[in-house]
Amino acid sequence: MGKRILVIDDSSTMRKIVSRSLRQAGLEFDEILEASDGQEALNLLENEKVDLILSDINMPNMDGIEFLRQKKELDAIKDIPVVMITTEGGADIIGEAKSLGAAGSVKKPFKPDTINEVLGDLI
């Protein structure tokens, strides 16, 4: 099976932007899956295998921080790298995400070059 990336964001617009940037970045992957919040992502990951996750932080229902917290406890998915997509660049929220296992972060809006820099070694 080819490589798959899961994009988690409550905004369908941002999911489109991320997907477009991923395709333009020249990364090697075969499919992008989408979820609109952390809970939907956890449900999806029960049945789907992905190689990398990009997640928003500020989302209704289950935010990105709670998603990381719950994912960390699930053996089947705990090792999948997660990169946080955020407008909130504060050190504390990024620090909290990293303490919960996030592999990195990118700030909106981002360009394909930025995506490549952050994700290049993860996929």
Binding site: S11, S12, T13, T86, G89
Partner: protein, 163 residues
């Protein structure tokens, strides 16, 4: 306070340009309010609160036609297939991105900030004009964009600025 207004204007102009270019390949130009098209088509409005380190409210008005143009580009769909849900989502995400970038540009890297989720504005939620402390106007593909910031104590921002 004049310096703060000038700094806000410069940072916001860069952020607006970057955001529209990145989202929909649209370039923007800052203009005076009087240069906005008269009888402009219907505007849509969204607001968002910066809840820390200071409290302020940012309002974004975008022309309906501009929103349609962005949705067409983003979703690669025909004009006839655009839904109001997509229009509202683009409007909200544009402000979310603008606000986040603006605060990142203004504040030092180690200064955290928090934003509320964007909220689509109806007329009865609009703040009275006397609370608006900063306004900026742009043309994006000749269509109007305006941003207004209301805050009870904007001067508190001065002490937090990136130096």
């Amino acid at each position: 306070m004049a310096e703060l207004q000038q700094l806000l204007g410069e940072k916001l102009s860069n952020v607006v340009d970057e955001t529209f270019e990145n989202m929909a390949f649209i370039s923007t130009e800052e203009v005076d309010e009087e240069q906005l098209p008269v009888n402009a088509e219907e505007l849509r409005e969204v607001r968002l609160l910066v809840t820390s380190p200071i409290v302020m409210e940012i309002h974004l008005h975008l022309a309906e036609d501009l929103l349609h143009q962005i949705v067409e580009t983003m979703y690669t769909i025909d004009a006839d297939d655009i839904t109001d849900e997509q229009i509202v989502d683009v409007l909200a995400e544009t402000l979310n991105t603008l606000a986040g970038r603006l605060m990142t540009e203004l504040l030092p890297p180690d200064q955290s900030f928090s934003l509320s989720l964007p909220e689509i504005v109806t007329d009865d939620l609009a703040p009275p004009d006397e609370n608006i402390v900063f306004s900026a106007f742009y043309l994006a593909d000749d269509l109007p964009v305006s941003i207004k910031i209301s805050a009870a104590a904007l001067e508190e921002l001065e002490g937090l600025l990136k130096h």
